[in-house]
């Protein structure tokens, strides 16, 4: 599960498996703490840190959470510098804007960990920073990371104030009963208004103003104070080395040379090389070959002790063996497994096809490699008469989908056709026959072809999300209208200060998967922020809409939509098709239909072709070539009834529109 953001990529580079390349991209490490004489960047075969010098009471496990661009990564860099974990250089800034994905969209970072050594009032502390992804799509991962923590640093931009993700992240931490340290960042900016932000924090989160720390991560102002707060406010983990081993797998990565590297948090006992361990989930037995801490590259240690966070290598060959949320214990010393996590459920589905079918195998291997580190993407083989062989992929959200697609392009140089995203619907069956057939009464529908008829269904259900919008109040009117158009129901509206409003709406998920975020950004001149969380399923008046060409249904264009949206969607699809299908020898009726009822129609007039161009004296070769090319083109077309539809037309209609 690797969704690389800036930090992730940089860290990944630091632990590059290629020894020859490694020194080139390494910043010079400063010796630090008790490991002062060691070369921290070396992960193999060096002297090891003795972790027993850090008893539980001297350990703090924490995360930084923030809205996109509020400075989480910059603060993390400063913390690493101050504790001597990385060198203080300008390069720590350059790495931040590495990925195009990141610049274009709010970024996601794979949960990363770094152990910091910090001495405060004569005591040596081990501070484990567990970085979290910064986007809503990955709230699942955020909660996963938080499960290894006792506290969080909540970073808020002194200029922008509380944003939608700040709210979402706060509640994740709050519900996990973690200590929260509010930090107001970017106080060096001209428009910074920390007082206002402090008031917002007080009003919305009920945190006293005097608990906020004002900092400038960029300039390093007050960052030490943040570290002191971490030590003071965040409790040490509650556990003991005398308990039996109990380790939570909160992340895993795959290394082609060493196999699975599992990130673990120890909730009891200790672990070292040679220990025989068992996975509570798979009940498989392994022998530990290496343990260590992340600084942030892997740094082997003799042992890890209760309360500590680090990594483990134990001969696991596949990421699925290191199931995230799994509990590891010592062979013959079983423990009550930790609560673990629900597996991440895909919320958004999209078809992915190679642009050229000859690229199918290359794309398959790229997908395999990419999903190796991102188990939250579900992959099912699919094929479309128009687009050929491909896959139906399930993503945690839109950004996840985009990041995945962009990584395919950037890291694997694969160009793909990604169809417009859809959401998983459900139906409660009433027909005894169907219930028997499916073996259950409630079924999930991903493909419109599986949509059961209304007569055999007692209720259709659609997924919903609870959306949080934070906006300057000037845009409220427009935003409320937008939300109503998207069938959203207002749940809450709160002024977080004189100028800013937080709105909460319950949205049908399918109403936001395509272009909601862009619409919101554009009508608020970029000022409104949006975040959402899963809110379960609700009953919905769903229908299946068919697209007909001269009366013949086009399988790949069938869609499941809400009744209220049928007319508009039908009209839109017909118009798009009219532009995309080339005119032919006869008139073509393009219709949208629900059952037998036609709800929209466009007519494509017959082709009127120029055959009267002057033929150059006897040069018919060129004309024959043109005719041949036309005939070749026809072979590539999909025939629906007598209508020939080029693949390109399907692509234009099915493809996700990013330029809207």
């Amino acid at each position: 599960m690797a969704l690389a953001g800036r930090t992730a990529v940089w860290w990944a580079r630091l632990r590059s498996p290629c020894p020859a390349a490694a020194p080139l991209c390494l910043p010079p490490w400063l010796p630090a703490g008790p490991a002062a004489c060691q070369r921290l960047y070396s992960s193999r075969g060096k002297e090891k840190i003795d972790m027993s010098t850090y008893p539980v009471e001297n350990i703090r496990n924490f995360s930084i959470i923030a809205h996109v661009d509020h400075g989480k990564s910059t603060l993390a860099d400063r913390l690493l510098e101050i504790t001597g974990t990385i060198a203080k250089t300008d390069r720590n800034k350059q790495v931040l804007d590495k990925l195009q994905v990141e610049r274009e969209r709010g970024i996601t970072v794979k949960a990363q960990s770094a152990s910091l050594f910090y001495s405060h009032e004569g005591v040596n502390y081990l501070l484990n920073l567990i970085d979290t992804p910064g986007h809503v799509d990955f709230s699942y991962e955020v909660s996963r990371s938080l499960s290894a923590c006792q506290g969080v640093i909540l970073v808020v931009d002194a200029n922008e104030g509380i944003q939608a993700q700040t709210v979402a992240n706060f509640y994740l931490a709050f519900e996990a009963q973690l200590a929260i340290i509010p930090v107001i960042n970017k106080i060096d900016l001209k428009n910074a208004d920390p007082e206002r932000v402090e008031k917002q924090i007080e009003k919305l989160f009920d945190i006293p103003i005097d608990e906020c720390v004002r900092i400038s991560a960029k300039q390093g102002t007050n960052v030490e104070k943040v570290l002191q707060k971490v030590i003071e406010k965040i409790p040490p983990p509650h556990c003991s080395t005398t308990d039996p081993l109990k380790a939570l797998v909160f992340d895993s990565t795959f290394d082609h040379y060493r196999g699975v590297i599992a990130n673990i948090a120890l909730f009891g006992g200790e672990i070292q090389k040679g220990h025989k361990i068992v996975s509570a989930h798979t009940e498989k037995r392994y022998e530990v070959s290496e343990v260590g801490i992340l600084t942030p590259n892997e740094q082997p240690t003799h042992k890890l002790y209760a309360g500590q966070v680090g990594y483990l290598i134990a001969g696991m060959k596949e990421v699925t063996e290191a199931q995230i949320g799994d509990t590891l214990f010592l062979y013959k010393h079983p423990v009550e497994p930790l609560p673990g996590f629900k597996s991440a459920k895909p919320m958004v589905f999209a078809g992915m096809y190679p642009v050229d079918q000859t690229e199918y195998n290359n794309l398959r291997s790229a997908l395999e490699r990419l999903t190796l580190n991102d188990s939250s993407v579900t992959v099912h083989r699919d094929s479309s008469l128009a687009l050929g062989a491909g896959w139906r992929l399930g993503f945690l959200g839109l950004l996840h989908m985009e990041v995945f697609n962009q990584r395919l392009e950037q890291e694997y140089n694969m160009s793909v056709i990604l169809t417009a995203p859809t959401v998983p619907y459900k139906a409660i069956l009433s027909s005894a026959k169907l219930i028997k057939e499916y073996g259950k009464a409630e079924i999930t529908i991903i493909n419109p072809a599986q949509f059961p008829d209304k007569l055999s269904v007692s209720e259709y259900l659609e997924p919903t999300v609870l959306g949080t919008i934070v906006t300057p109040h000037d845009y409220i009117g427009k935003i409320i209208t937008l939300c109503q158009e998207r069938r959203a129901v207002q749940k809450d509206m709160l002024y977080i200060d004189e100028h800013r409003v937080m709105l909460k709406y319950l949205f049908p998920l399918n109403e936001i998967v395509v272009d909601f975020y862009d619409a919101l950004k554009s009508l608020s001149s970029g000022y409104a922020s949006f975040d959402y969380e899963d809110a379960g399923y609700q009953a919905a008046d769903l229908i299946k809409m068919d697209i007909l060409l001269n009366g013949n249904p086009v399988e790949e264009l069938a869609t499941i939509i809400h009744n209220d949206k049928a007319y508009a969607t039908g009209k839109f699809l017909c118009e798009r098709l009219k532009d995309a299908i080339p005119r032919q020898l006869f008139e073509i009726a393009i219709q949208a239909a629900i059952g037998k009822k036609i709800i929209a129609r466009e007519t494509l007039k017959a082709y009127r072709k120029n055959v009267v161009a002057k033929c150059y004296g006897g040069d018919i070769t060129r004309r024959m070539k043109l005719l041949k090319r036309q005939a070749e083109g026809k072979k590539l077309m999909r025939k629906i009834g007598n209508v020939e539809v080029p693949r390109d037309a399907f692509i234009r209609v099915l493809k996700r529109q990013t330029d809207k």
Binding site: L585, V612, K614, Y616, G617, G618, D619, T621, M624
Partner: protein, 391 residues
């Protein structure tokens, strides 16, 4: 057969034309003439066909066409000659005469055979035209294109509407019933009404043959650059089709037979030479860039070949001087390719493809056998696009 000698030179470049043509200050006409004569002789001997059309160089294309002729001491007979271009009317009547003499000296050219010359209004004064007639030309095809000065300027034509008018009148006086005019429609910004009015004027001027061409924007031409660059509007497909239908209706009402998609004739003034292309007969291209289709029986060949002469005049001349001809490319057409050409060209005419002609190219598979079976052709027949009648 039908020789089509090409004269590759023009005085200026029209804004829409991408034909193989050259605008040079001075043409060594004697040298070009000698080469045309030599190549015509060489290729006529090589083809040895009994029916052929010679088309060619003086800037153009055209076949020397061949029809069935009564037995004659010379084994080969020419059905028609077409001087295309370029602008062949820029050549001197002497050159035209020399090529025709060469043809007569090598093959039989019956007295009444059609000999067409393409002419531009700016190089078609009465005395020149009389000279061409004396040289043996008996049909004229005049590139009028438009009778509107603004449109002529847009097309980059050298002449004015008044000059075109004068040239056509002069030609009709010298070649009565055998003067054709070319008209272009679908100019950027042209309305259907303006086109109809222009055609109305042209109908008051023309003789018994009119060719209508839709302007095709060709890559690399000045006009296409302006349209694709957005400086001029792109004529919409439906408007173009309406213009064509309007013109067709007007010409038919004026007594013209729409005998080929672009060609209209009345009083039987069909172009023999062009019909030989559409009927997939043999033709010989002579001159730079000329195309031919014939069986080189003179060297023992028995397959129809597609032939192209060297494009560039100087290179072409060098080759003719050293080898007797400037053929750069010869491709043997497979039986299927030949049938494709028979179909694609024959379906442009109102007579279509006769069972006889089809049988000539496809002795073993009849039209019924090829197109009567269920399939795409049958669907086209049901929709009225294709007619297959009994043999």
């Amino acid at each position: 057969s039908a020789p089509c000698p090409q004269w590759p030179y023009c005085r200026q470049r029209c804004s829409y034309c991408n034909f193989n043509k050259y605008v040079v200050p001075v043409v060594d006409e004697a040298a070009v003439r000698a080469c045309l004569v030599r190549e015509a002789r060489t290729l006529l001997r090589l083809s040895q066909v009994q029916r052929w059309v010679l088309g060619g160089i003086l800037g153009g294309s055209g076949p020397f066409g061949a029809c069935p002729q009564p037995p004659h001491p010379l084994p080969y007979s020419i059905t028609s000659v077409f001087f295309g271009g370029g602008t062949p009317s820029l050549a001197s009547p002497r050159t035209i005469a020399a090529v025709l003499e060469a043809a007569v000296g090598t093959a039989h050219l019956p007295a009444g055979a059609e000999v067409t010359l393409e002419a531009n209004p700016s190089s078609a004064g009465s005395s020149r035209l009389a000279g061409f007639r004396a040289a043996g030309v008996n049909r004229l095809s005049i590139g009028v294109q438009s009778l509107d000065d603004a449109e002529l300027r847009l097309l980059g034509r050298e002449h004015t509407a008044a000059e075109a008018w004068g040239a056509v009148e002069a030609a009709r006086g010298l070649f009565p019933g055998r003067t054709s005019i070319d008209l272009l429609f679908g100019l950027p910004g042209q309305s259907c009404g303006a086109w109809a009015r222009g055609l109305e004027v042209a109908l008051g001027l023309c003789d018994d043959h009119v060719s209508l061409y839709q302007l095709t924007l060709e890559r690399g031409t000045a006009l296409a650059g302006k349209v694709w660059g957005g400086a001029l509007p792109t004529p919409p497909q439906d408007l173009l089709a309406d213009m064509y239908q309007t013109a067709r209706a007007m010409l038919v009402a004026a007594g013209f037979r729409h005998y080929e998609v672009s060609n209209f004739a009345r009083k039987g003034a069909l172009s023999t030479h062009n019909l030989s292309y559409w009927r997939a007969e043999q033709y010989i291209g002579v001159g730079p860039g000329a195309h031919g289709r014939f069986v080189p029986r003179g060297e023992g060949g028995c397959s129809r070949e597609a032939r192209v002469q060297a494009l560039e005049p100087d290179a072409w001349m060098r080759e003719v001087q050293s080898r007797g001809h400037g053929t750069r490319r010869r491709v043997v057409l497979s039986p299927l390719e030949q049938l494709e050409e028979v179909l694609a060209l024959g379906l442009r005419t109102d007579e279509g493809i006769t069972h006889e002609r089809w049988g000539h190219f496809s002795p073993h598979l009849s039209l019924e056998a090829a197109f009567g079976a269920p399939g795409e052709a049958e669907a086209l027949q049901q929709q009225g696009w294709l007619v297959l009648d009994g043999g």
